[in-house]
């Protein structure tokens, strides 16, 4: 199977998670671990960069749904940035844009957090 890679970097108070490759039921636990780490460190403002993500399955989407409440309860959020068209389409079909904020790049998302 195609690989999946997740890494995070900090930009001020905001954490940016870069996801790469294929996010499905087998790779979703990696992303869950990353979110758990953030919650342990009490970082609730998260931007997920989808620039290098090629595919997301329903299990992958489920990860964001599982963590967004916790983030929002602590005055944070999960925002999405830099999605490819076909990946955005999956989110769009499901109606995610009504519930989550999507941005063209990290800067916009960060700017929104800092407002």
């Amino acid at each position: 199977m195609a690989d999946f890679n997740v890494s995070s970097r900090e930009q001020g108070q905001i954490c940016i998670i870069d996801v790469k490759g294929y996010l499905d039921a087998h790779t979703a636990p990696d992303l869950e671990n990353e979110f758990n780490k953030l919650i342990d460190n009490q970082q609730y403002k998260v931007v997920v960069n989808f620039d290098e993500l090629n595919y997301i399955s329903s299990a992958g989407l489920g990860v964001f749904m599982a963590y967004v409440e916790t983030m929002r309860e602590h005055k944070g959020d999960i925002k999405f940035s830099s999605l490819k068209d076909d990946v955005y389409n999956i989110f769009d079909l499901l109606g995610f844009p009504v519930l989550y904020e999507f941005y063209d790049n990290d800067e916009e998302a960060i700017f929104k957090f800092n407002q």
Partner: protein, 691 residues
């Protein structure tokens, strides 16, 4: 049961014979308490010998049962022997010899002489029977012949003594038999190989015991060879009994003397022998465990524990290796963290994989445990690879900390033990895997079963509408669901849904979704309202990370009016005169949001169907089917295919679509369920009516 009864009855019979012969003997003795030089003595002796012979077989049964514990048998012999010594010594000190014993004819003497006879002869016979059992113990070659010969010669000695008493001239025969008896005693006394199988502690005990016993037998022999009151009584009871007693005492003296020396020579090697038998029993234990313990961890614990026994090590631990990562499974007499640290350090140092036993002597290893560097010094550390079919599955470590280094024998034993252990572990692993696989398989079957029961058995038949459905489950159930509801005679409701996740959990959600749509379709006709209600119910019951996409619609079979709403599902396609249009009203997935956002973001869409219009409902399993280049089948290919076949019947169209999809992704396993539901609007009636 039958054999037991037989044994019991034969046992009973033997006892009956013994009692009978004793009674006859006693009656006889009341008439002739002492012997004289007449033929009556011979009758007397025949009675006595047969009593002794029957007694011997009775007692043999008792001694035979004690065979599993030879030391206790020896102890019994010792005890009886001591009692005999005590009686003989005491009575010879207290009582003087009786003069003119042949003329004594009181009832008191008769009773006493019978008592003395009974005690001495029964004890002696027990001793003889016990020695016989010891003699046969752990013998590889049949050895009964020599011993039986000895018994025969004993009997002949006794008889010849009686004869010699009657006919003084025959004394040389008695002497000859005595000498032959002595020779046979010596020959039979060398059958002591059972001593080798005793533990060191038992050997020490036996050494002590046999020295005393041999001495006591010697004293008894000497005492009754001289003339004293007991000897006198026995001799007057029967000359042969006196000889028999003497011979057994001599036998005991020689036999236990030889036991004493043999044990003495065995003592230096006793420790090594114990070690060997420990190894053997550990191996036997392990091979038993192989069939009994299926739990990997438990088996590991048994192995490390047995390792210490097999090679005299202080600590042992077991590491398994799989795809280049090692895992500490079990430790014995060493801390888990310590063993883990030591293992890592060593495995980095040495060349792996090992293919034979590696020994490190005088090894000091520095290990960091919880920010604390500790140094462990081992006199000797042996690492044995656990190999099955040339494949290395891990390592068994055995360490001596203070004592000496491992010798060659210990290493060899450890090597043999490790081979066994490797097979046992592999066995346990295979069983675990097959159980897991079986469980997975049965779970998958259950999920498929649920799914096949949830989906409608057949498509509805209507004059105005051709309906076709096609469902191809993925290997791992994907959670696709579709259904039809006849709302009233002229309205058909339909739903297509896709549950997130896979397998048994997805199929349970599917069942819930079916229940929701079945009941709501009866009370709510408006698709949007129905989906809002469904979302309410599902957000309460679903896990945070699960959701369901759905599309619900109602077709009015009179007018051809379709009203539907979409909750995050892939769009509905409509093909009208070869042109495919994707209909995508707003709406988010069920279970994504519990607030009013869902309610305000969903809308109904209404369209009027024209003759031969085709409605295509599907799940993402169709468009997301991939080929080997990870290319998706995609909407464009899908829509073109519909255009191409739009003049066919819906059954054919769905079949064509599936054919193309499976051709496209033929080299790749189907990842998700594929579901297609097609409607074709046919209102001839109306057209004819209008014309």
């Amino acid at each position: 049961m039958i054999t037991l009864d037989l044994e019991n009855s034969s046992h009973k019979k033997k006892l009956e014979y013994l009692i009978l012969s004793l009674i006859i003997l006693l009656i006889y003795k009341f008439f002739y308490p002492t012997i004289d030089q007449s033929l009556f003595s011979i009758i007397n002796d025949i009675l006595i010998y047969s009593t002794i012979a029957i007694g011997f077989y009775n007692i043999s049964e008792i001694t035979h049962k004690k065979l599993s514990n030879p030391i206790s048998l020896v102890l019994n012999v010792g005890l009886l022997n001591a009692v005999l010594f005590f009686l003989t010594a005491l009575s010879s000190v207290i009582f003087d010899e009786i003069e003119n014993i042949n003329e004594v004819n009181s009832l008191f003497y008769t009773v006493v002489s019978i008592l003395v006879f009974l005690i001495y002869v029964s004890f002696t016979t027990y001793i003889l029977a016990a020695i016989r059992e010891l003699n046969f113990l752990r013998q590889k070659k049949p050895s009964e012949r020599n011993f039986n010969l000895l018994l025969v010669v004993f009997a002949l000695s006794a008889i010849s003594a009686t004869l010699a008493y009657i006919y003084q001239g025959l004394q040389f025969i008695e002497k000859t038999f005595f000498v032959v008896s002595t020779v046979l005693i010596v020959i039979n006394s060398f059958r002591v190989s059972w001593i080798a199988f005793l533990t060191k502690r038992q050997k020490i005990f036996l050494l002590f015991l046999s020295s005393i016993m041999s001495g006591l037998f010697g004293f008894n022999f000497a005492l009754t060879s001289e003339s004293n009151i007991i000897q006198q009584v026995l001799f007057n009871f029967s000359t042969g009994v006196d000889v028999y007693f003497n011979l057994v005492m001599l036998f005991g003296n020689v036999y236990f003397g030889i036991i004493f020396f043999t044990t003495l020579f065995h003592l230096p090697t006793a420790g090594a022998f114990d070690q060997k038998s420990e190894e053997v029993s550990s191996l036997i234990d392990l091979s038993n465990l192989m069939t009994q313990v299926l739990d990997f961890k438990e088996l590991g614990d048994h192995i490390t524990l047995a390792t210490n026994k097999v090679c005299n090590s202080d600590s042992a631990w077991l590491v398994t290796e799989e795809s280049n990562s090692s895992e500490l499974v079990s430790v014995s007499n060493i801390g888990y963290l310590e063993a883990d640290g030591i293992t890592k350090t060593i495995l980095e140092e040495i060349e792996t994989p090992l293919d034979k036993v590696l020994t490190l002597n005088k090894k000091s290893i520095k290990v960091k445990i919880k920010n604390d560097i500790r140094t462990y010094i081992f006199q000797s550390l042996v690492i044995v690879p656990l190999k099955v079919h040339q494949k290395n599955n891990g390592y068994l470590f055995a360490a001596k900390r203070q004592k000496y280094v491992f010798d060659e024998d210990e290493k060899k034993a450890l090597g043999a033990f490790a081979d066994y252990a490797a097979v046992a572990l592999e066995n346990a692993k295979l069983i675990k895997e097959s159980i897991y696989k079986e469980r997975l398989e049965s779970e998958l079957n259950a999920a498929r079963d649920i799914q096949s029961k949830i989906l409608p058995e057949e498509t509805p038949r209507c004059d105005e509408l051709e309906v076709a459905s096609l469902f191809v489950p993925a290997f791992e159930v994907g959670g696709d669901y579709y259904d039809f509801f006849k709302l009233d005679s002229k309205k058909l409701g339909f739903v297509i849904a896709d549950v997130s996740g896979k397998g048994i959990s997805a199929s349970y959600i599917m069942a819930e979704v079916k229940g929701i749509f079945e009941s709501l379709s009866k009370v709510i006709e408006n698709p949007k309202e129905l989906l809002i209600k469904a979302n309410d119910i599902l957000t309460n019951s679903l896990d945070k990370k699960n959701f369901v996409t759905a599309l619900y619609g109602v077709i009015d079979l009179n007018s051809g009016k379709l009203i539907f709403a979409r909750a995050g599902h892939v769009p509905m396609l409509v093909c009208s005169e070869g042109i495919v249009e994707s209909l995508r009203p707003r709406g988010i997935g069920l279970g994504l949001d519990s607030t009013a956002i869902f309610n305000t973001n969903i809308e109904n869409m209404e369209i009027q169907l024209n003759n031969n219009d085709i409605l295509i409902l599907y799940t993402d399993g169709v468009t997301e089917s991939q080929n080997l280049n990870a290319e998706e089948f995609g909407e464009e290919r899908f829509e073109n295919l519909i255009t191409k076949h739009c003049d066919n019947e819906v059954d054919d169209i769905s079949r064509e679509i599936f054919k193309e999809v499976s051709l496209f992704s033929k080299d790749k396993r189907q990842h998700d369920d594929i579901t297609l539901v097609l409607f074709k609007w046919k209102n001839y009636n109306k057209i004819i009516g209008e014309v």
